[in-house]
Every structure is written in structure tokens, then in C-alpha cells.
Amino acid sequence: MTSRNPGDTQHSGVTRRTVLGTGAGVAAATILPLQPDAQAQQLPAPIETGTTIRVSMSVNGQAVSLDIDSRASLLDLLRERLGFTGTKKGCDHGQCGACTIHLDGRPVVSCLTLAAKASGREVTTIEGLASGETLHPMQTAFIDHDALQCGYCTPGQIMSAVACVHQGQATNRDSIREFMSGNICRCGAYAGIVAAIEDVAANSREG
């Protein structure tokens, strides 16, 4: 498993986040050595085996420039290096939409975007939508229409929803549902999500 193969991992000791981040199957194998006290120390020491490259990009209007592991996803760069944890990791395979951000103004899944590819481009995350203390109209509409329950998928839903209105695809419920099909909500808040998007589109608020 991964824990025996330091070349494939970037563990810096086992934390809750590491366990969560490595997935259930691997987590089960990783948790076992934690039970006896001293064994945790036998886990691989932090080894950075990757090739690093310099990237420069704009994130929410601010220029950033840093060295990253060339394998890193844009999602991990945003969350783990730059602290923009509003963008969520769901499936990490482009199937759930929780990690949706805007790259040069268009929605993409940041989990399948190699961070290196974002160099020289403009990234907008959920943290970049509000103007100071004033929420983006779509954020307000999600609150007004109770368009969430647990909230985990919400940042991704809102990033897609903004694009749905902006691209003129919020013309009717079917079109909204089709456009939003790349964002999964396990709580089933879809009715509220569609209502929020309809509301913003109908009020011609900036999407």
C-alpha cells in the first residue's frame, strides 16, 4: 500500500487531513500502525520526491508566484498551499463538481487541472465572488432559497450556477438542470439550487 512506498506519497506524518485525503482503502491501512504508540514514528519521514516548477498566476485578482510539485492539481495548490479551502475535494476524479472554479472566466474542475497548466492564467474561487462584505447575488439567492443542506457541494454549485446565468443557459428549468449536471448534491438540494438560479436569471442580476 501507499504507506510502504514513500516514493508515491508526500506524507508529513499522519494527520486527520492526511487520512481523509488518501481515501478509505488506504486510510484503513494507514490507521492500523497508529494504535501502538511508537509505531507512528516508523511511518515514512516526509520526503519530497517530486520535481518542482515555478508557476505564476492570478488567484481572485491577486498575483501569486511559487514553486510547486509538478504533479500537483490546481485543487491541492489552492487548498493546501494558498489556503483557499472554500473549494472542496469530493471525488478528485472530475465526477462530482465540488472543486469547480473559474479558469480565465470558465468553469473547470480543479481536481483534474494540473496546477502547472494554470500558470499565466486567472483563477477565481468561491472566495473571489463577493465584493468585500457584499455577497454575490448567487450566494444571496442560495441562502434565500435554502439551496443547501450540508453545504459541502455548495461552493462548486455556486461557481457553476454563476456561469449558467452568465452564459445564458438559465432560460428554463430543463436547461438549468442540464447545465448543472456536473455538480452532484448528495443531500438532494436540487430544487432549491434550480430555484436560486432561476431567481438570479429572472432578476437580471449579474451572473
Binding site: 517530486g50 520535481t51 474542475v109 487541472t113 497548466k117 456561469a163
Partner: protein
């Protein structure tokens, strides 16, 4: 994931040169929606990525000439919404719009999509991290290791074009539409430029399922061209487990040229049911020169599945696929101007 070197190529020549210099562990990178995904799963383990997306002019969409010409780096979403494609060639536009979520359509390229790998769960999820064979054997991933899908959970697998070594289904929608429209693939490699018809692009699994494409690893797709056929009405009809953002259980790309209610010519290709984008000539032959009725359309659909070989859990695809062809024929015929 192995450490990787990442470089951006500025020209086709530079890309091929970098690839040739890097050797067998190099991969070209475009949108990355398949390659990076498979790297996370341990199925692909490249040491060198050569990013093509900075090559100027490779994303141009041309619709004014004798043919429709799509640069390999054109995004799926951009091609789908190009007015001349959206209005004049619905089979192309619909295949792209039904292929992926809007986020993925903003990432994936129309050239890279031709190289999408199968969604067979034994292929994707069986790589493991320490074993060379993987948790599940897979002849496509590890030649000669066996096939866990044959006799396994094969509900999503192919009933046409399968072999004793592999029954993995070809996942694409866009390649199916291109098959029905007689597209040509333009390539560039160490030996220069060449073109091949899409019908010669894909390989049946036979006893070498790890070889999927009749393309040299160092070759790049540079463009896709589609002959202009203003007289054809078309559709891409796709049936899935859910209404949107899912792979096909069965799909049909149909383009028909009608003379009143009579079919002059029909082009039919299938997705979701075969190991490669599948041209259904028996179905085309059955409707040519005849008055199209729902009964004839279904008869044609059935003809496409004569000789199909179902596994344990996928026999339903023969009936479903026949009905998808029948419905697609009727939808396309109704669209005739």
C-alpha cells in the same frame, strides 16, 4: 504518482522532438481529463508530460471551407456551440454536449477525446500501487494478465467487437458521431504529416487489447476534418442510467439523406455497446431506398446486433441498442428540411 517533468511545447516540431528525446515514459498532455485522472489511479505512470496547449493555431475551428475543420486543441464546448456546427450538424454538436459536464467540456479537447480510455472498472480501479499486475488482471492495462470483466461485473461492457482477451466498451460519443460522418484524422509525427480515415483509427481488441489506436506513440493529432453534407439530417441519441452526465448504455449517431419519406442513404454508428466506435452497415443497408417506418427502423436496429456476443449481465444492450437505432432514425428523418 511518480515524479514528473512538465514542459510546454511551443510548436509541433518541438513537441515531437521533446517526446522522442524523453522516450517511452513520455506522454503528450492536452486537456488532461483522461490522462491526469488515470495518473491518479496508477493506470498511467508517465515520467514526462509535454503540454501541447501552448501550440499556436491548433485550436482553430474552420467552417467556411469545403470541409469542417477542427484543430485538435479546440475545446469540446467551443466546437459544440459553434453556430455552423450547432445548427447544421446536430449529430456532432449533440455528441459533444452529451459527452461530459460543462466543466469538462471547458477542459477536454476534440483531439484528446479521440484517445479517451475505457471506463471498464477493472481497467481503471485495478492498478493498485505495488503490484505490477494490479488488484484485478486486465489485458488492456497489463498485457497477458487476464480479464476480470469476462465472467465478472460486465453490465457496462461491449456486446460487439469483443474478444476473449477484452470486452471493454469504447466510452466516447464524439468519435461515434465522427464515424457516422466519415471524418478524417490529421496527424503529425517524426515522419511528418499524414491523414487517416477515422474508420482506420481504432483497433479491435483481438489478442492485443493494449493497442487501441493505429497511431505511433510519438504522433500527435493535429486536426479532425468532416466532409460538408448539407443534405443530411442527423441526431446523436444517447441512453444512460441517468438523464445527463453519464456514459452511454447505448447510443446511435444517425445521418440520413431523405427523398420525401424514402431513405436515400443512411449513416449509422453505435456507442456504448462495442469495443470501438461501431459502424452499423447492416442497419444502413436495411433502410436504404425504402420508406422509413418505425417497424422498418426497428428491423434495421435488430440487424445491427446480429452476431452480437453478450456476457453475463449486458444482454439487455442488444434490445436497447436496436431501439436506440430505431428512435434515432425516426428523430433524424423528422429533422429533414
Amino acid at each position: 504518482m511518480r515524479p514528473i517533468s512538465y514542459t510546454r511545447a511551443g510548436t509541433l516540431e518541438a513537441a515531437v522532438k521533446a517526446f522522442t528525446a524523453a522516450g517511452a515514459d513520455a506522454r503528450y498532455l492536452a486537456g488532461g481529463t483522461t490522462l491526469y485522472d488515470l495518473m491518479k489511479l496508477g493506470v498511467e505512470r508517465p515520467a514526462h508530460l509535454i503540454d501541447l496547449t501552448g501550440i499556436a493555431g491548433l485550436n482553430i475551428i474552420e467552417t467556411d471551407g469545403d470541409v469542417l475543420r477542427f484543430g485538435a486543441l479546440a475545446l469540446m464546448g467551443d466546437v459544440a456551440y459553434t453556430p455552423a456546427v450547432h445548427e447544421g450538424y446536430p449529430v456532432l454538436s449533440e455528441s459533444l454536449l452529451k459527452a461530459a459536464s460543462q466543466q469538462l467540456r471547458n477542459m477536454a479537447t476534440v483531439g484528446g477525446n479521440l484517445l479517451q480510455r475505457t471506463r471498464c472498472m477493472y481497467f481503471r480501479n485495478g492498478a493498485g500501487s505495488t503490484s505490477t499486475v494490479g488488484v484485478y488482471p486486465c489485458n488492456r492495462r497489463q498485457p497477458g494478465s487476464g480479464c476480470a470483466a469476462i465472467g465478472g461485473l460486465d453490465r457496462g461492457h461491449a456486446v460487439l467487437g469483443a474478444s476473449d482477451a477484452c470486452t471493454a466498451v469504447s466510452p466516447g460519443d464524439w468519435p461515434v458521431a465522427l464515424m457516422a460522418m466519415d471524418a478524417t484524422i490529421e496527424l503529425f509525427g517524426p515522419g511528418g504529416a499524414r491523414s487517416i480515415p477515422i474508420a482506420e483509427f481504432y483497433r479491435l481488441p483481438s489478442d492485443t487489447p493494449h493497442l487501441q489506436f493505429n497511431v505511433d506513440p510519438a504522433e500527435l493529432i493535429t486536426a479532425i476534418t468532416v466532409p460538408k453534407t448539407p443534405g443530411r439530417a442527423s441526431t446523436y441519441h444517447k441512453i444512460r442510467d441517468r438523464e445527463s452526465f453519464a456514459f452511454a448504455l447505448a447510443s446511435a449517431a444517425v445521418a440520413v439523406e431523405m427523398d420525401g419519406a424514402t431513405v436515400r442513404t443512411a449513416r449509422i454508428a453505435l456507442g456504448g455497446v462495442a469495443t470501438v466506435p461501431w459502424r452499423a452497415q447492416p442497419a444502413e443497408d436495411m433502410v436504404r431506398g425504402k420508406t422509413l417506418t418505425p417497424e422498418l427502423a426497428l428491423e434495421a436496429g435488430r440487424a445491427a446486433f446480429r452476431g452480437a456476443r453478450p456476457g453475463q449481465h449486458n444482454a439487455f444492450k442488444m434490445d436497447l441498442g436496436a431501439r436506440v437505432i430505431a428512435d434515432a432514425l425516426m428523430i433524424a428523418a423528422e429533422r429533414r428540411s
